[in-house]
């Protein structure tokens, strides 16, 4: 079996130095918090636990199932890691996974690793844990449904962040990269959601003690709920907006001086638009919202059907 690279790992060369460094800075700050929290809050038992869970996430990414026409669904695992291990540990675990993927397999670059960790590790964990934490005292069905939605949004968030970074770096055009990334990942996210929900259902059924209120995973503060919901809202609102009104976003970025510093002079986005995406409008917002609702529905259905069987 061979390890197959996923779509979200940005290689070196595709982000400008400034964007890479900014992402590294954000990542470093969050990771420093995670490290200090983990050192304080977690017993020494967590060391082998987190290490082996990182290997678990890595290995679980190799699990796939046939969807149709030769494509297959598989797992990224950010939400699952955060829900089962808690937010800080989840972030550290995802960081280790992404670091090894980059170092050992060149799946994702080194200079851009900060961005990759941010997109696939930190944001996904915050969303996954935050939303789940909000319902961690509710019924099994609600937990599973929310976990599914969180998993889906976390993938969308990773895609959105990646797209924005590529755009600010002057590597991609906003009008193309946002709809393309979000479109593809709306599908990938459904696989993510389905696997996450089923895996959690399995754990809830066989070792519920690992996910109950006393476990480390449930001990993150309520602040996570706010963080998770806010990031999710940003994603849900910004995605359709960004694909509907890229020019607006462009102007904001230009006003902030963002684009020009990042792109060594040449204004790649200046007054140019690709016709087949530029004129889309509210239909995009509607599509995004419908997508979210469909996933919510599917997750609830999946939660129900899983519950019946027990």
């Amino acid at each position: 079996m061979h390890y197959s690279p996923a779509l979200l790992h940005i290689p070196d060369g595709f982000l400008s130095l400034i964007v890479s460094l900014i992402c590294w800075a954000i990542t470093a700050v969050v990771l420093a918090m995670a490290v200090s929290r983990s050192n304080k809050a977690l017993g020494e038992k967590q060391v082998p636990l987190m290490g082996i869970m990182a290997a678990f996430i890595f290995a679980a990414q190799m699990l796939n199932f046939p969807v149709a026409g030769g494509t297959s669904g598989h797992l990224l695992g950010g939400a699952l890691a955060a829900i089962t291990l808690g937010p800080w540990a989840g972030m550290l675990v995802m960081t280790a996974v992404i670091a090894v993927q980059a170092l050992l397999f060149q799946d994702g670059g080194l200079l851009v690793m900060g961005a990759n960790i941010l997109n696939m590790g930190l944001v996904t964990a915050a969303i996954g844990y935050g939303l789940y934490r909000g319902v961690s005292n509710s019924s099994r069905g609600a937990k599973l449904a929310v976990a599914g939605v969180a998993a889906w949004i976390s993938v969308m968030a990773g895609a959105l962040f990646t797209a924005l970074q590529l755009w600010v770096s002057g590597t991609s055009q906003l009008q193309v990269v946002i709809p393309a990334m979000l479109g593809v990942h709306a599908l990938i996210g459904i696989g993510e959601a389905a696997i996450t929900v089923a895996a959690l259902a399995f754990i809830l059924q066989t070792r519920p003690d690992l996910l109950n209120e006393k476990s480390t995973a449930a001990q993150g503060s309520r602040g996570w709920v706010v963080a998770g919901v806010v990031i999710s809202l940003v994603v849900v609102l910004l995605s359709p907006l960004a694909s509907a009104f890229p020019d607006g976003l462009n102007r904001v970025a230009e006003d902030l001086g963002f684009i020009h510093t990042a792109q060594s002079g040449s204004g790649p986005l200046a007054g140019y638009s690709v016709p087949f995406f530029a004129d889309a409008s509210f239909s995009k917002i509607a599509a995004g919202t419908i997508g979210a609702l469909v996933v919510l529905g599917l997750s609830i259905l999946a939660g129900r059907s899983l519950q019946k069987k027990t």
């Binding site: 290995a59 280790a96 999946a302």
Partner: protein, 264 residues
């Protein structure tokens, strides 16, 4: 079973193999940063960087084309940059008709696109070389010495160790599923997509529990050998004169590339 296919290290006794891992990591990162700093279209500088990679390939004893053969891994991502071909204003190089649009490739767009792809291609080759001549545990040591927080390097070393064990488990799980994925002649089967996703999720859950329980056993094994909550490691690497020499040579090369890249 074997998931050794994962290991990217190639045995050898070259100068690069024995170079201090800290220097190797730092040099690799410096090289990649240097690529990112080079302006678009600095062809001479890109060529110089490539020359450095060729020399490194030769010095590694793995053959001139070693890193080249494996460097296409990042290529699919070039799709993400394809739009710059059309979006940057400039002189038209060529144009074609795509569905209902006239697409115009500009010279400036071409320059930017090729620069992005070349940068990425050079960087990935250096990273490939790094893991080909450095055993992964040594890279972890280097990260440790370079002040990456211990908890992260510890997680990474556990990850590396158990990656192989768990990947084998996944492989066996997938095989067991495949072995029972039968069909009765003539009937249309395979189950619904949702059911298949659920089975896969169950496999992930099963793997989670097994990993979790394994971590308990590993923890016991650590306790038995005197672990009290603080991990102690021992991997003294000592810089030798040759380490500094090779390191300096690469840095000078990088510097020259930067200067060449900025000449008008």
């Amino acid at each position: 079973m074997h998931s050794d296919a994962f290991d990217r290290f190639h045995h050898g006794h070259s100068a690069l193999h024995s170079l201090d891992p800290r220097i190797k990591v730092v040099v690799t990162i410096a090289f990649i940063v240097s690529n990112a700093l080079l302006p678009d279209g600095a062809w001479m500088a890109f060529a110089l960087a490539w020359l450095m990679i060729l020399i490194a390939n030769i010095a590694s004893g793995l053959g001139v084309g070693f890193s080249f053969r494996r460097s296409f891994i990042a290529l699919p991502f070039a799709l993400a940059a394809i739009t710059v071909l059309f979006s940057i204003p400039g002189k038209a190089v060529t144009s074609f008709h795509f569905l209902m649009w006239d697409m115009v490739i500009t010279d400036a767009g071409l320059l930017r696109f090729v620069s992005i792809v070349v940068r990425s291609w050079l960087s990935v080759q250096m990273a490939i070389l790094l893991v080909a001549v450095t055993e992964f545990p040594k890279i972890i040591h280097a990260l440790n010495h370079l002040r990456v927080p211990t908890i992260l390097t510890v997680i990474i070393s556990f990850l590396y160790r158990y990656l192989f064990v768990l990947a084998d488990e996944v492989m066996r799980l997938l095989r067991a599923r495949e072995a029972r994925s039968a069909v009765v002649a003539g009937s249309n089967s395979g189950g619904s997509v949702l059911w298949r996703a659920r089975v896969t999720g169950n496999m992930a859950g099963q793997l989670f529990l097994r990993s979790y329980e394994r971590s308990d056993r590993v923890y016991n094994a650590m306790l038995s050998r005197g672990y009290k909550g603080e991990l102690m490691t021992m991997h003294s690497h000592e810089y030798r004169a040759s380490d500094w020499q090779i390191g300096s040579i690469v840095f000078i090369g990088i510097l020259i590339a930067q200067i060449v890249g900025r000449l008008p």
